[in-house]
């Protein structure tokens, strides 16, 4: 039986969370639902809106451009996330050592995180400049290649360039949260292991990695979701080119919104949403997180 005063107290408590709920509902959940619904309509500017069920999705299945961007998005995620986690872990391990100027080093690592992605992309665009960019300068002066490379101009190098600049922007985040995980591992464990005569690699694989697993899964989750929805970098660096080879799903959907084909664009967005959602659930299963939240 719920007491009268308990009801009053509950309503008071909900008043505190109400603004949060309202904002999230109105500006995120409803739009997502709206996008879902729109994806079942032919909803193109100047044409009458018409319910067409799953036709947009059927069209997706035979749309080779869609499959191209699908493939790019998955490939980009599959390449950049492990790279970022690997380098992020390396940086975290370095930052966790007793180095001189440790604070300063941490700041250096934070800088890419603080710079807006669009601006970072602009910097990288210049770095990749065919005629006078830093990338070609380095490549040529170290003798890796005699001719300048058209970084953003061929599909292979464009992919590579995107991966590198994305890594630059996001490794700090990975490094910082892995560093938090590392510093939570008590020193005694390492000292004990050292006394037991283990070498560096054994300590790394037997102690560090297993204890870091929850944090690693979190980083993996966040990074995967972020990589799947990549947009800013592509918008600035390649505009999806060359030949559509670097069009991410976000960017593909965006292109349809630009020409006011909301129905089809929404179907693309919903597909991306479904992929992200499915992967998150899979990761959470993997990380056995249920108990750890609260």
């Amino acid at each position: 039986m719920i007491k009268k005063y308990t009801l009053k107290e509950l309503s008071e408590s909900y008043a505190f969370v109400a603004p949060l709920i309202i904002f999230v509902l109105v500006f995120i959940l409803f739009p997502v639902i709206g996008t879902f619904l729109t994806s079942m309509f032919r909803d193109v500017a100047f044409l009458t809106k018409e319910f067409i069920g799953l036709d947009n999705y059927k069209k997706l299945l035979v749309d080779s451009r869609f499959w191209q961007s699908f493939q790019f998005t998955i490939l980009f995620t599959a390449v950049s996330v492990p790279l970022e986690l690997g380098l992020g872990l390396l940086f975290a391990l370095l930052l966790n050592e007793f180095l001189p100027f440790r604070g300063l080093l941490r700041v250096c690592v934070l800088i890419p995180w603080a710079i807006p992605a669009a601006i970072a992309a602009r910097i990288w665009e210049l770095i990749y400049n065919f005629h006078y960019g830093l990338a070609n300068f380095v490549v040529q002066s170290f003798g890796f290649s005699r001719e300048p490379i058209n970084w953003l101009g061929t599909s292979g190098t464009a992919f590579f360039s995107l991966v590198v600049s994305d890594a630059w922007k996001t490794i700090p985040f990975v490094a910082i949260i892995l560093l938090a995980g590392l510093s939570a591992i008590p020193d005694e464990i390492y000292r004990q292991a050292q006394v037991d005569g283990s070498n560096f690699w054994q300590r790394f694989f037997r102690i560090t990695l297993p204890l870091l697993r929850p944090v690693l899964v979190v980083a993996l989750l966040f990074r995967t979701i972020d990589a799947l929805r990549i947009f800013d970098l592509i918008y600035v660096l390649t505009k999806g080119g060359p030949g559509g080879s670097t069009t991410s799903l976000s960017f593909y959907g965006y292109k349809y919104f630009l020409v006011s084909d909301f129905g089809y664009g929404s179907a693309v967005s919903v597909t991306l949403f479904a992929i992200a959602f499915g992967l998150s659930i899979a990761y959470l299963r993997l990380g056995k997180f249920k108990e750890e939240i609260l």
Binding site: V32, R229, A276
Partner: protein, 276 residues
């Protein structure tokens, strides 16, 4: 002995790589922004100092850079402030009050923050269109608040749950209402946490791109990242010097903030992430 030596060499090499990797693009931006020609690398040793780029970006009205900057600062600051307030209220209720479905709210909000922006933005675009809010501050601020709320909530829940419950109870006995407990006890005690959250929220809003691309049209509300992304030259040639000067002006304050408050920021990031 050998192992230790090898290890310190590896650490030094690794650190050098790390610093170079992280700082190089940033420094490159700074250098280009103060050079007369962006192509000095092609003809080596041709570097010439010039402040034209800065002068141009700050004085040429038609570039609207200062407008973008103002828009960004206003939108981000207002969004950050309101977000922290709303998240603070909710975090208080979730950590302290009788509330059914606390875990559900936290997980729901976490799930929401994982939605791809592209699945929101088209609907928002038309919604804002109907409200006539396209190209206005509020048209950006409201979505930003919603977008940053999940992160802020998680960070604040983590801060608030560390404040002893006895403080609330003492406050109750001393005659506070719930609202007074929040304002006179929880908020002051959690001030460092609120500050880091606000800082993170500001940086998030400042860096946001997709909403800003879709929901703004021109200098009346366009933010710096979009402005810089869309910066094109008048005569075909991209004015790299000007772009880098603009980028420098836009990022250096944030970078300085990051340096000054690195502890707060790192705490914020790790609390937001590691708890989730």
């Amino acid at each position: 002995m050998g192992e230790r030596r090898l290890k310190s060499i590896l650490i030094i090499l690794g650190s050098i790589f790390m610093i170079a990797f992280c700082l190089m693009p940033f420094l490159y931006m700074l250098i280009i922004s103060i050079s007369k020609n962006p192509d000095f690398l092609a003809s080596l040793g041709n570097f010439q100092f010039a402040s034209d780029n800065y002068h141009g970006i700050l004085t040429i009205k038609s570039l609207h850079f200062l407008d973008y900057l103002r828009n960004s600062i206003v939108v981000s600051a207002v969004s950050a402030f309101i977000t922290v307030l709303i998240a603070g209220l909710a975090a208080y209720a979730i950590t302290r009050l009788t509330l059914l479905g606390k875990v559900f709210i936290l997980l729901f909000v976490l799930a929401i923050s994982m939605f791809p922006q592209i699945s929101i933005v088209s609907y928002l675009y038309r919604f804002m269109g109907r409200l006539n809010w396209i190209n206005t501050y509020q048209g950006l601020i409201f979505p930003y608040i919603a977008w940053i709320l999940p992160l802020s909530l998680w960070i604040l829940v983590s801060y608030f749950s560390q404040i002893p419950r006895d403080l609330d109870r003492a406050g109750l006995v001393d005659g506070c209402s719930k609202w007074q407990i929040l304002r006179k006890i929880i908020f002051p005690v959690a001030a460092p946490g609120l500050f880091s959250t606000a800082l993170l929220a500001f940086i998030f809003a400042f860096n946001e791109f997709m909403f800003a691309v879709m929901l703004t049209i021109d200098y009346h509300s366009r933010t710096v990242p979009v402005g810089i992304a869309l910066f094109q030259g008048l005569h075909g040639e991209i004015p790299w010097g000007t772009i880098m000067a603009a980028s420098t002006i836009a990022t250096v304050p944030i970078v300085i903030c990051t340096i000054l408050f690195q502890r707060h920021i790192i705490q914020g990031i790790t609390r937001g992430a590691v708890k989730g």
